[in-house]
């Protein structure tokens, strides 16, 4: 039975160090929810509080309306997938998968059937008699996943399950994980510091920073409308340009003509314009108001990535897709810079708040 997870003002301290000061989240039933953030931001800490391996020092966590603060880990009915697989080395694949069912005293026939089904779902049935040492990393992670989902847990927790795999397997396995989660409809909390992984599998993402939630939203929201400069910078690539907002809300790069966007809030003064590389439009320098000099050009196959030096010693990153051009621009060339304006983001000088 999938459950919703409610995290209310939880706090976690290690000795004098407060890893999570106060954090609240609502995770919906059946949702694929991801905790994303830089190393040390407290993702694992929070996940382990849900799992019952870290004590909750303040606030409460409940599954549906049952508070689980004092429920020991083995009674929480969770499935967990670990970064290093954590498969029992002394048991075969099949025994590993059946482990949780035996603990739950599931009748033998049903146990057999569910184990078999889970192994088939994860495409490991043909290895059922093997020991973990005889499996590849990807196969081991499939066993770990089968073992966690076969018990039909109320919540499935995964802590960087793919980070020990090579790049190609990572992409393959994240599709597997997403597919299985959809098929079984298990409420899932997924931890990663890989933004691409997070964007590709999640229903919703909480971007974390220093024990706080910096932004909560769908992958699309978070990518297109970051709530602050931390998120804009952490997810994808963003160039920041200082701008001036006048009394009418017009936004202009210093000394240039106003751009086509307006600050939504009544705000006047300096602000920060955030622009992603794919939203920079390169033009000829003549007739352009805002120009820069290309300092590097990196050919990436489907696109070329430019670093452009602009006035004030700043740099802007721009992508030009090969389908839009025949020949990349040269290093040293001066180019005009325009923007895909509806995709721009604007923040107050502290970077904490969006002005759009």
């Amino acid at each position: 039975m999938p459950h919703s997870v409610h995290i209310r003002s939880v706090m976690k301290r290690y000795g004098d160090f407060i890893a999570i000061p106060e954090l609240s989240l609502e995770i919906k039933e059946g949702e694929f929810f991801t905790l994303l953030g830089p190393s040390g931001c407290g993702k694992t800490t929070l996940l382990r509080m849900i799992a019952g391996f870290n004590e909750i020092d303040g606030g409460e966590i409940s599954f549906d309306d049952r508070v689980i603060n004092d429920l020991p880990a083995h009674k929480r009915d969770i499935g967990m997938v670990f970064q290093n697989y954590a498969i029992f080395p002394h048991l075969t694949v099949k025994e590993n998968v059946a482990y949780g069912l035996i603990a739950r005293k599931v009748p033998a026939a049903e146990k057999e059937e569910r184990t078999q089904k889970a192994m088939e779902l994860m495409h490991i049935a043909e290895h059922s008699a093997k020991y973990p040492q005889q499996l590849s990393g990807g196969q081991q992670q499939r066993v770990a996943l089968a073992r966690a989902v076969v018990i039909e847990p109320s919540v499935l927790l995964m802590d960087e399950p793919l980070s020990n795999l090579d790049a190609k397997l990572r992409v393959e396995m994240r599709l597997v994980i997403r597919e299985v989660q959809q098929k079984l409809g298990i409420t899932t909390v997924y931890v990663t510091h890989d933004q691409e992984e997070a964007l590709s599998v999640s229903d919703r993402i909480a971007v974390m920073n220093k024990g706080h939630v910096a932004q909560l939203g769908t992958p699309l929201d978070i990518y297109l409308r970051p709530a602050n400069t931390f998120v804009a910078d952490f997810i994808g690539i963003t160039s920041f340009i200082p701008v001036q907002v006048d009394a009418e809300g017009k936004v202009a790069i210093l000394g240039k003509a106003p751009l086509g966007i307006r600050a939504a809030k009544s705000y006047t003064g300096m602000a920060i314009l955030a622009v992603r590389p794919e939203n920079v439009v390169l033009k000829d320098a003549e007739g352009s108001d805002f120009t820069g000099r290309i300092s590097t050009a990196t050919f990436l196959g489907d696109s070329v990535c430019y670093e452009i030096d602009v006035e004030g010693g700043r740099r802007i990153t721009a992508n030009q897709y090969m389908i839009n051009t025949d020949s990349p621009r040269e290093v040293g060339q001066t180019v005009g810079i325009g923007f895909l304006e509806k995709r721009l983001n604007l923040f107050d000088p502290s970077g904490e708040e969006s002005l759009l």
Partner: protein
């Protein structure tokens, strides 16, 4: 709404803490309190009272006031320092030669080294007496030719026997470190023009200083605590453990209060040495990973023979005692005298007359082993996975007997448990208790090592799948730890069956073991039976060692 502000009641907090591991921790702490802290505390306390039961430093004044007593302390220190140096002088070059060059009979050398390490020390002393003693085979033979080789008794003899018995510690530790050292370090120094002996002294050995120090420390502490060898060979040359034994057990004029004070002194020395070593090791340890293990090279023929000759000579000489003892065990005896011809009489005698000693030895050792394995599992888990101030205290208390010489521990235990609610002095329980306390530090360290290699998430996986922490420990963790723990336990078993220094204090007629019988047989001139028992003990040791290898154990030291 803000639950962070709600202060949980005492009952709630207690209920939260009342889990399996905390209960085990409390029980274990109680056990150490009763069986380690109390006996030792009592000994320390008693050392501060005189025979009339008044508080005084009289015992210490007596010790440091009389030449007879404080001389034993000097003798002990003199022997320990000398033996440490001689063991290093033999062990270091041997380790270097065998781990860097091809040496004739390397496998034989390894076996000989381990065998001489694992025999009870007085077997060495005893067989040297058989050879070079006043009426020894060699002595009488040479005397017939008019050659006087001098006495094997006293300082010289003790140092020789200790060295031959203890250099294996240096050899094994240092070979291990040398072969896991990264070869590029030595190669780099060769590129800088530092070669040969200079390279060894300036690069190779300094890099493994911590290992050299640890092995030296073990030699020092073992020599300090050992009792059998100086007892047999010392004659007038008294060392501290022998004096403690005398004061504690001698029929006339024994002074247990003084024995207490001397025990405290010897423990203080051990603890100091251990403390200094810890400090030095912490400061001077280099992280080495052998990405590029050193190659074993060929020496030119002349040097090859010279090196092999040295190494083989040491190995053979250190096997001498075993060979002599085995040979003696098959000699025909008439009373205390050897007569011409061979026989199995000695073996018949021990099988009929001394079978109880043999069964006692096995029973005590196996019982102690079972307890050690269980405690080793539980304590190592608490120390590694449930780190807290209390678990640190537990670790310290369990490791503390490591610095207690066996005879001191024996005395502590007798004094503590010959009265009161736990009256087990004179029974088999006190023997098992003593063996457990003495060897648990080794079992614990090996099981701690194993536990560090097991990923914590394995057990979290089991818990998350619905198996309680306690059941997870017994079904998953124990299974994963067992192979490594068993191979460590075999070594503890070997150490226990060869143990004398506490046994000799604790045994009674009913609980006599093979090792003390060897000692008492030697004292009453039953050389044949002593030799037969000793041979049997060595044989059991060899069998246990083979089992150990089969179990996959590598680290003999």
């Amino acid at each position: 709404m803000n639950a962070a502000l709600r202060v949980p009641s005492f009952q709630e907090r207690l209920a939260k803490r009342l889990n399996f591991w905390n209960v085990v921790l409390v029980l274990l702490l109680l056990l150490t309190l009763v069986f380690i802290v109390y006996p030792f505390g009592q000994m320390f306390y008693n050392s501060l009272f005189n025979a009339d039961g008044e508080f005084s430093f009289a015992n210490y004044q007596k010790f440091f006031g009389r030449r007879y007593y404080y001389n034993a302390l000097f003798n002990s220190l003199k022997i320990c320092v000398t033996v440490t140096i001689t063991s290093l002088l033999i062990g270091l070059p041997m380790a270097y030669l065998t781990s860097r060059f091809h040496i004739l009979g390397k496998r034989f050398v390894d076996i000989a080294v381990v065998l001489s390490l694992l025999s009870p020390p007085f077997i060495g002393a005893y067989s040297w007496i058989l050879l070079f003693g006043r009426s020894g085979v060699v002595t009488t033979f040479l005397a017939d030719w008019g050659i006087d080789i001098g006495s094997i008794y006293g300082f010289k003899g003790i140092v020789m026997v200790f060295t031959l018995k203890l250099y294996p510690f240096v050899y094994l530790y240092v070979s291990g470190a040398l072969s896991s050292m990264d070869a590029s370090l030595e190669e780099a120094s060769a590129n800088l023009g530092i070669t040969g002996l200079e390279r060894i002294m300036r690069v190779t050995f300094p890099l493994i200083i911590p290992t050299i120090l640890s092995s030296g420390l073990i030699v020092f502490m073992t020599a300090l605590a050992d009792f059998g060898t100086p007892m047999l060979l010392g004659e007038g040359y008294k060392v501290l453990p022998v004096l403690i034994y005398d004061e504690y057990l001698s029929e006339v004029g024994s002074d247990t209060y003084l024995a207490n004070a001397m025990s405290v002194i010897i423990v203080c020395i051990s603890a100091t040495v251990l403390f200094i070593q810890k400090k030095i090791i912490n400061r001077k340890s280099y992280n080495m990973s052998a990405l590029n293990p050193p190659a074993i090279t060929h020496l030119p023929t002349g040097k090859y023979l010279l090196a092999s000759g040295f190494v083989l000579l040491v190995a053979v000489v250190s096997l001498f005692p075993q060979i002599t003892v085995a040979y003696t065990s098959f000699l025909k005896m008439n009373g205390p005298l050897f007569v011409d011809g061979f026989s199995l009489d000695s073996y018949r005698y021990i099988m009929f007359k001394l079978s109880r000693n043999i069964s006692n030895t096995f029973m005590f050792a196996l019982a102690a082993l079972a307890v050690m394995i269980m405690l080793g599992l539980l304590i190592s888990y608490i120390v590694v996975r449930r780190r807290s101030r209390a678990s640190g205290l537990l670790d310290f208390l369990v490791m503390f007997p490591y610095v207690l010489p066996g005879s001191v521990l024996g005395i502590c235990l007798v004094m503590a448990f010959n009265k009161g609610p736990i009256m087990i002095a004179g029974t088999m329980w006190i023997m098992i208790l003593s063996y457990t306390i003495r060897k648990l530090p080794f079992t614990l360290r090996s099981s701690v090592g194993i536990l560090y290699q097991i990923d914590p998430s394995i057990e979290e996986a089991s818990i998350s799948l619905g198996v309680s922490p306690m059941k997870t420990f017994f079904t998953v963790m124990v299974k994963l730890m067992m192979p490594g723990l068993l191979s460590g336990a075999v070594l503890s078993f070997i150490a226990v069956i060869n143990e004398v220094s506490s046994t000799i204090i604790l045994y009674t007629g009913r609980t006599v073991t093979m090792s003390v019988t060897i000692f008492s047989e030697i004292n009453r001139a039953g050389y044949g039976t002593a030799a037969a028992l000793a041979t049997l003990l060595s044989l059991i040791t060899i069998v246990a060692l083979i089992i150990f290898r089969k179990l996959g154990g590598k680290d003999v030291a």
